[in-house]
Amino acid sequence: MNTTRRGLMAGATLLAMPAIAQGQKRVTIMSHAVHQRVVTGAKGGDSTAAWREKNNASIEWLTFGVEAVHERVYREAALAQGSVDVAFLLERYGGPHIAPLFEDLGPLMAADPLEAPDEISPSMFAAHTYRGRSIGVPYRHATHGFFWNKALFEERGVSAVPTTFEQIAETAEKMTFTRGDGSRLAGYATSMDDPSGIMDIIRAHGGDFITRDYKYVADAPEAVRAVTLLRDWYRKGVLPRNMMTFKTEEVITTMQQGRAAMTNQPFGRYENYNDPKQSKFPGQFGVAPLPALSTLGGNGLVPAKTSVWAMAIPRNAPDKKLSWSLIKEISSPQNTIRAAVNGNGPVRMSAYDDPRVKELAPYSEAERRVLPTAMLVVPGFEQAARAMDIFMEEVQKAMLGQAEPAAAMKAARGRIEPLLPT
């Protein structure tokens, strides 16, 4: 049989006929891959299934890395006409300057309210509200816990899980070794593309970067001590040699392949680390709240780093009512539970009481424990991205030995303070 262009076109039209006949709507979501996984995952079920059927719509997911998704969403939303209906945004990539690109959700919420909105913490809404303009409905919190690989601990004869940060430091050094076959194991790994990975370590020492009232404090002795530890770890090989290029994705791969023994990552990564399809050590990863230095007192836990992902509607979205109806559906209490079972950090506290979440997300109790004291990396402000880059630049200089930790943190003060809101 001859294949002709006309024949191919006729075939394509025939294939598309069902959708054309039904007048199916197409909705585009731009997000990180993790959102697609938790919204549509098999374990808890697809949160959009009922909505799609009811609205006769199909959903196209466009997923990118954390930084790339924001870059693309902002570019798309800046156009006169757009095709993205819902976008997932992380608070530390936002700021008042991007707020005009998104629909103010206040009037939509007033006209057609979310189900049980009071369950979602006002501080999470506040993380996506700029000059009174609320642009996002919180969907996922990525709150950090402390992960360790039990099989590697066993290989090295470590029987006790660290319960203070001093013990983590000690164990990290012990877990750093080279096997007989030449393969190297790093004691600890974390991401270096922004401060979210190292903030836990700084806060474990009682330090911070930028306070809620916009004061730079990373040159205080506590933070300098943490940066000194990072430098020493890097010199000794406790951190992977190529860690300067690590983003979240590299940390995940390194842990799954058993090339590092411990890390601090969102609790939800428990699924990725223990999944037999993705990990070389399924079922071998434990997670707990990250402990602080024993000398700090308090409850002994680090105020865990958290991030808040929210769903927003670009100002040029083709059908904003439809977008809002999808956001409402995805953020309903029932779907919050579904997503939590799929590994999402639920923004509704009631999800933690659900028996399915307790059973299928065994880390949920630990996650719930740290939530009340969890902190964002930095409070939102227009120059936050530049301030975080400068901070990481100076931290990396200290780690590479190009500057003393105290001098690097002082240099960061000089460059970051002029960027802070007054």
Binding site: A77, M192, R241, M244, R386, E393, M399, L400
Partner: protein, 289 residues
Amino acid sequence: MKRARRSELALLAPAHMLLLAFIVLPAIYVGWMSLTKTSFEGSAAFVGFANYATLFGDAVFWRAAWNTFWVVNAVVYGEMLLGLGLALLAAGWMPWRRVLIACLIAPYAINEVSAVAMWRYVLEPDVGMVSWLLVRIGIGQLDWTADPTDALTLAAILSIWTHTPFTFLILYAALRAVPQELTEAAVVDGARGWAVFRHVLLPSIMPALLVALLFRYIIAMRIFAEIWLLTEGGPARLTEVLAVYLYRTAFRYHEFGLASATGLTMMLLSLAIAAPYLVHVYRRMFRHA
């Protein structure tokens, strides 16, 4: 010189309109934006030359400019030497010429992103095959994740690997176009290998060499993918080049005025590099006009 007639101008007009629409007007707009403070909020406030003052006062910009300078020179001259050497080989005696030429130009067909991902993987310090091999044969690893010089060296090698086929093809075509009688006459007059190359082949292919040099300079000035996909300019922004600086300013900090100033500065730098060659080519072309 003969004056162009109206009909000739009319025939040239579409090309000029396209240049105006897609090159000149956007360049003017970028020039205007570089004098404003503007982000996504839409309102552009005129700030004069403040963006240029910020740019030239930023140590990271100067480091990026220096990195660009040395990477671009390493890439362009590395490519010229390699491309010329390969072209001389291919134009002279070479067994299985067609197959080998196909192999030589293959890297040009590989997507830059795929090429960087591949090199990054084989040179990964812990599990990379090439890294392992380099250690085994005693050379030692290229510490590109932590050492800025090693990272920039790798970016330059990668760029040379990807783009040498372009230079090779231009020079190979030029060498093939040199009349054989010229080299034969030189040989009859007693010239040998180096003398034939220096006094016959090189002057004959010089225009092509200059064109290749010019094109590669301008394209290499925009080097981005190699650095961004390898290190994103890190560690500590020590491997940043101008295109990465521009990208970060525009799409991470959303400071479009400053990004425009960076873009315009890059354009002027390219023009400064290209100007001597353009003048030379212009004089050569119209010497007898």
